[in-house]
């Protein structure tokens, strides 16, 4: 079964106009997300699986190429994983 991704609960998420700021109080690291990234990050709540997020993205941004959307999402999430900004629900 696919593990559900969840935003790291230790990260401070601040939404601004057209972007969001992720701040890790442990390390002081900051990452800025664009509007789409911020939307995806908010969907990582342990309730939406990756398929549901792809559906939501396609609906919100009128994307027709599902495969490309899935690929972009995987790439984005890998970046968040590498920076310990998301984890897996056990």
């Amino acid at each position: 079964m696919e593990k559900m991704l969840i935003a790291n609960p230790e990260i401070v998420f601040r939404e601004e106009i057209d972007e969001a700021i992720l701040f890790d109080p442990r390390t002081g690291a900051v990452k800025i997300l664009n509007e789409t990234g911020a939307f995806i990050y908010q969907m990582l709540d342990g309730k939406h699986d990756l398929n549901a997020i792809v559906e939501l993205l396609m609906e919100r941004y009128d994307i027709v190429d599902r495969e490309q959307a899935q690929k972009d999402l995987d790439e984005f999430l890998q970046g968040l994983r590498d920076a310990d900004l998301v984890g897996e629900l056990e």
Binding site: N8, P9, E10, I21, P25
Partner: protein, 188 residues
């Protein structure tokens, strides 16, 4: 006049500033500092910058020194020499613009931070009682406890808050449990 942005790390200025708040700090304004302002300084003996409120200005040996204290701290810091000053907090950054911290707000926290600390202590005592009462609900699995794996760390999350962490390091396992949850076996 130069200014820069700074992200708050730590909880010593709660409730005025919380972790992750972005502050706008103005440099080169030591001569305009007033009691109630929040300053950023670096003590030569400590690592990192400190963001604390000025609670007094004194002149030992004729030179100006600042008395500072975190709003969430019970005791004052050591005297801050003007050479240690990095700048003064003039506002918060919201949507890429500076929202100034009004003077009345600085005065308010200067006078009432102590009351808020007392309220927080009372709240902590009440929470201990609440946790004692909730313990059976945790045992009966009526309160959801989530485990999240972030790299080498395992976080235990209750009501969206991290209440315990476990980290595998080359030196061994480092565990932390929030003091309110230490009696609850399920979060360990």
């Amino acid at each position: 006049m130069t200014a820069f942005e700074l992200i708050v790390k730590g909880r010593s200025m709660i409730p005025a500033f919380c972790e992750g708040d972005i502050l706008v700090v103005e440099q080169d304004c030591a001569d305009r500092i007033k009691v109630g302002n929040v300053v950023v300084y670096q003590s030569p003996e400590a690592e990192g910058w400190v963001v604390h409120r000025v609670t007094g200005i004194e002149y030992p040996n004729g030179a100006m020194c600042l008395v500072t204290q975190g709003d969430n701290r019970a005791i004052a810091d050591e005297m801050v020499h003007p050479d240690w000053l990095v700048g003064v907090v003039v506002g918060r950054s919201r949507d890429n613009r500076c929202v100034p911290v009004p003077r009345w707000q600085e005065r308010f926290w200067l006078h009432f931070a102590g009351w808020f600390r007392r309220v927080r202590r009372i709240r902590l005592r009440l929470l201990r009682i609440v946790m004692f009462l909730l313990a059976p609900l945790f045992s009966a699995r009526l309160i959801p406890v989530k485990r999240v794996r972030i790299g080498d760390r395992q976080l235990t999350v209750v009501f969206g808050r991290v209440v315990a962490t476990r980290e595998e390091t080359p030196q061994g396992t480092i565990e932390w449990v929030h003091p309110l949850f230490r009696r609850i076996k399920r979060v360990k």
